[in-house]
């Protein structure tokens, strides 16, 4: 396939639409990661939470023959991971990374284990008739060429991920709880000194984080695909964390960063036909995250140094003595 051919397909409506579809679980999980990170806890169980929610949603919706019940139980299962993390980290003093790694392992093992028991298959749940979240056609837009492919016909969670980004932004910056959450993350002592219940805030942050990640997981097994596969999250929980940092720990930045990751993923598939290996394209956002981090820290250092120098010049050249 020629270069122009590839260019054509990249700028096609299908491609843009596919970016949105691929990015959605990352957006959702990253929003969860953001909430937790801003409260002062790096939640590395996003991966395990997504997996558990994906699994439970499929299983419950198949056996109870109800989409709503499936979604509900999926979320609850994901929240269970958050609850365990909160108990072990906030109350039993386990280091948050060790507890997180343990819970991820438990999620991986638990889901495959139960999958095998329920279906006799360790690979996927194709034998189960699980439900799918609805796809939505947007009126008016669905009749416009190009835009109809790009904007309409997506799964409801795709749209929801944008709405939730906005809601999370409102929550973090316009509500009392959100402000308290950010205060706790930045200076827990200051927050405590004005009467904020730091422990309670940390719990809430972890639960909200788990909730968002659960949605991301449900998307994987009940929208993107309509079954559960072992390890289907394939590291998206960690990509979500990277998106939190690449996005500057702000909701809209995180959204864009998540789309960047999704975009490069989609791009890498297209470029495959140009003999550019997908992996080389896929690493770009990861390298970018490191570079962004380094640049940011260097700037911090430079700003502090500049301030010091400014004071030194000002104070030492002034003639006034500090005494009488």
């Amino acid at each position: 396939m020629s270069f122009s051919h590839v260019l054509q397909s990249i700028f096609s409506a299908l491609f843009v639409a596919s970016i949105l579809r691929i990015s959605t679980p990352i957006i959702l999980a990253a929003l969860g990661g953001l909430i937790s990170e801003l409260s002062g806890a790096t939640n590395i169980t996003l991966e395990g939470t997504m997996l558990v929610a994906a699994f439970t949603g499929v299983v419950v919706s198949a056996y109870a023959k109800s989409l709503v019940l499936g979604v509900l139980c999926g979320v609850l299962a994901g929240l269970l991971i958050s609850v365990l993390l909160a108990i072990f980290h906030l109350h039993l003093k386990t280091d948050i990374f060790l507890a997180g790694i343990a819970l991820n392992i438990m999620a991986t093992g638990g889901t495959i284990f139960l999958l095998y028991i329920l279906t006799g298959d360790k690979g996927n749940s194709s034998t189960l008739a699980s439900a799918t979240l609805p796809f939505v056609q947007i009126p008016v837009i669905k009749d416009i060429p190009f835009l109809d492919t790009v904007l309409s016909g997506h799964n409801i969670l795709v749209y929801l991920s944008f709405v939730l980004t906005w809601l999370v932004a409102v929550f973090l910056y316009r509500t009392r709880l959100g402000v308290h959450l950010r205060a706790v993350g930045e200076n827990a002592e200051a927050a405590g000194s004005v009467g904020i219940n730091v422990l309670q805030i940390r719990w809430i942050a972890l639960l909200l984080s788990g909730f968002m990640a659960s949605l991301g997981g449900l998307y994987m097994s009940m929208a993107y695909l309509n079954l559960f596969q072992r390890d289907m999250t394939a590291g998206r929980g960690f990509i979500a964390l990277a998106a939190v940092y690449l996005g500057g720990r702000k909701p809209w930045g995180v959204l864009i960063a998540a789309i960047i990751f999704g975009g490069f993923d989609a791009l890498s598939n297209q470029l495959g036909s140009l003999k550019i290996a997908p992996q080389l394209v896929q690493v770009i956002p990861y390298v970018a995250t490191i570079v962004a981090l380094v640049v940011y820290n260097l700037r911090q250092q430079a700003v502090a140094l500049e301030r010091m120098r400014r004071f030194q010049d000002k104070e030492l050249t002034s003639q006034e003595a500090g005494g009488e």
């Binding site: 316009r174 509500t175 950010r182 200051a190 000002k314 104070e315 030492l316």
Partner: protein
């Protein structure tokens, strides 16, 4: 009219036996600016912590407007209208001034959302009402220390504080910022607030307060109208001491110049000048004591001289080798040892064994190191030797340092820093917070080192320690040397106190020859 605050017969004894407050009767009149002065350790912070609910008195009672009250936590004190501005600020750096002022009790608008306009309005109103100039929209990490302090004050006012306790507020301020603070304090009082001002700076007491209470060694020495006092009279109340230590000191045999400090200046991150053009020499065979109340630049001076901070300007040399703006190892290699003022933070690794704590300055040289090997036996032997020589109470040197008492921990540091045969020994608050036995021992050791020919720089807020151990004394106040005394035995505590508190100063011409 009853005083707005009355603290009766307050006694506070901490768990470790220290009597911080010993039968204090303290009262504050409504609408006054009341200064509470005393040296470090006098008990003034403890008294205010009790008032603010951070501590509970062992005995005594508290009356607010004539009514008996008990504060089990700061929240209860705040609810009753008492606000405190601590030395270390409790602000969220990325939040704006307004957001910090209303933190924890944010005004809500439509639909339960934060009302940012309200918050700004409240902040602006309070700011205008009390003359506390702040930029409500600026983020806290971009404003200077003076403004940050005003934000803290606004926080207390937002919560309805009628009585404000300011804990050493000028410790972090530049001179201009201090003046701005005073203007604000007067405005507060004009509006009916009462202000308690903890400080050790007597000039400020005279400038701003209506009445002043002096505390010393856990007791309240007296309360007077400020107009009836002079700085000298306050100084003598603060500093006068009955106890004088008996230290056997061999006559001095001063040798050559070992350390030369030339025009050292240092500016803190906050912009405040901590050291201004400091110059002095230290000679072999003498103890040069630096007398000053903590917070006048001594900490920074020691850190500059030991490689932990770079000097902004000026330098210091040991035997001709420059030691400023070098790494700590280079400074140590030049012959400088350092007993740090904060032994737990800097001086020791708590979960590491005693013997391994003793070698951090020498592990890379023979005999402790042979090629790639750390010679454990040599290390062990050093441990045994030093434990014996310095009387460190422990069954063996393999136990972690954390298993020792405070005094023994300090002995480990002393053992290490002394045994490296330094040319210059810098000891910063070497006996702070440790038991009498260890204190005596360490002081004897310091004097012995000096008699053996080392140059000792002693920095201590304990006046009697400085006076009895030093051969020569330099007084420091607000980052400058205010006086030098070549015959430590001949200067009185009161006199020295005046120089430490910046009330008296020697001119450069008077000092030059003796520094």
């Amino acid at each position: 009219m009853a005083p707005i605050i009355e603290m009766r017969d307050i006694v506070k004894i901490y768990a470790n036996g220290v009597v911080a407050n010993n039968g204090i009767n303290f009262s504050v009149e409504r609408g006054e600016i009341h200064a509470l002065v005393g040296e470090n350790g006098a008990g003034k912070s403890t008294l205010m912590k009790i008032l603010y609910g951070l501590e509970q008195p062992t005995e005594g009672e508290l009356l607010l407007d004539g009514k008996s009250v008990e504060f089990k936590s700061p929240h209860e004190a705040i609810a009753q209208g008492i606000g405190m501005v601590h030395q270390n600020f409790m602000l969220v750096p990325s939040f704006t001034v307004a957001e910090n002022v209303v933190l924890g009790d944010e005004p809500l608008g439509k639909g339960g959302m934060l009302d940012k306009k309200q918050a700004m309005q409240i902040t602006a109103d309070l700011s205008r009402q009390y003359g506390l100039r702040v930029d409500a929209e600026a983020t806290v990490d971009s404003i200077n220390v003076g403004m940050r302090q005003r934000v803290e004050i606004l926080k207390t006012l937002y919560r309805g504080a009628q009585i404000l306790i300011l804990d050493e507020p000028t410790a972090v301020l530049t001179p201009q910022e201090t003046q701005e603070l005073f203007v604000a304090v007067r405005a507060l009082v004009d509006q009916g607030k009462t202000v308690i001002f903890i400080t050790h700076k007597l000039r400020e007491v005279k400038e701003i307060s209506d009445r002043v209470t002096v505390m010393r060694d856990g007791k309240l020495i007296g309360t007077q109208n400020t107009s009836d006092t002079t700085r000298e009279s306050l100084a003598s109340m603060m500093v006068g001491r009955e106890v004088f230590l008996n230290v056997n000191k061999a006559p001095q045999n001063r040798g050559e110049k070992v350390m030369e400090v030339r025009n050292v200046s240092y500016v803190a991150e906050t912009g405040r000048v901590m050291l201004r053009d400091i110059s002095f020499n230290v000679f072999a065979g003498e103890v040069l004591g630096i007398a000053g109340v903590e917070g006048n630049g001594q900490t920074e001076l020691v850190e500059v001289l030991t490689g932990l901070r770079p000097a902004a300007s000026g330098d210091a040399m040991v035997h001709g080798k420059v030691v400023t703006s070098k790494t700590p190892r280079e400074v140590r290699m030049a012959g400088v040892s350092h007993i740090p003022e904060d032994r737990l933070t800097n001086g020791l690794a708590l979960d590491v064994s005693i013997e391994e704590n003793l070698i951090v300055d020498r592990y890379f040289n023979p005999p402790y190191r042979k090629g790639v090997l750390l010679e454990r036996r040599v290390v062990g032997k050093l441990g045994v030797d030093l434990i014996r020589k310095f009387g460190i109470r422990t069954p063996n040197g393999l136990l972690p340092v954390a298993s020792l008492s405070g005094g023994n921990m300090q002995k480990v540091i002393v053992a290490r820093e002394f045994s490296s045969n330094p040319a210059v020994l810098i000891a910063s608050q070497p006996t702070r917070g440790i038991d009498v036995g260890a204190t005596e021992f360490i002081r004897d050791q310091l004097v012995q080192k000096r008699t053996d020919g080392a140059a000792v720089l002693l920095v201590s807020a304990d006046l009697s320690e400085v006076m009895s151990l030093s051969d020569r004394i330099i007084a420091i106040y607000e980052g400058e040397i205010t006086g030098v005394f070549t015959e430590a035995a001949s200067v009185s505590e009161e006199e020295l106190g005046l120089y430490m508190l910046g009330i008296k100063r020697q001119s450069w011409e008077e000092m030059e020859a003796y520094l």
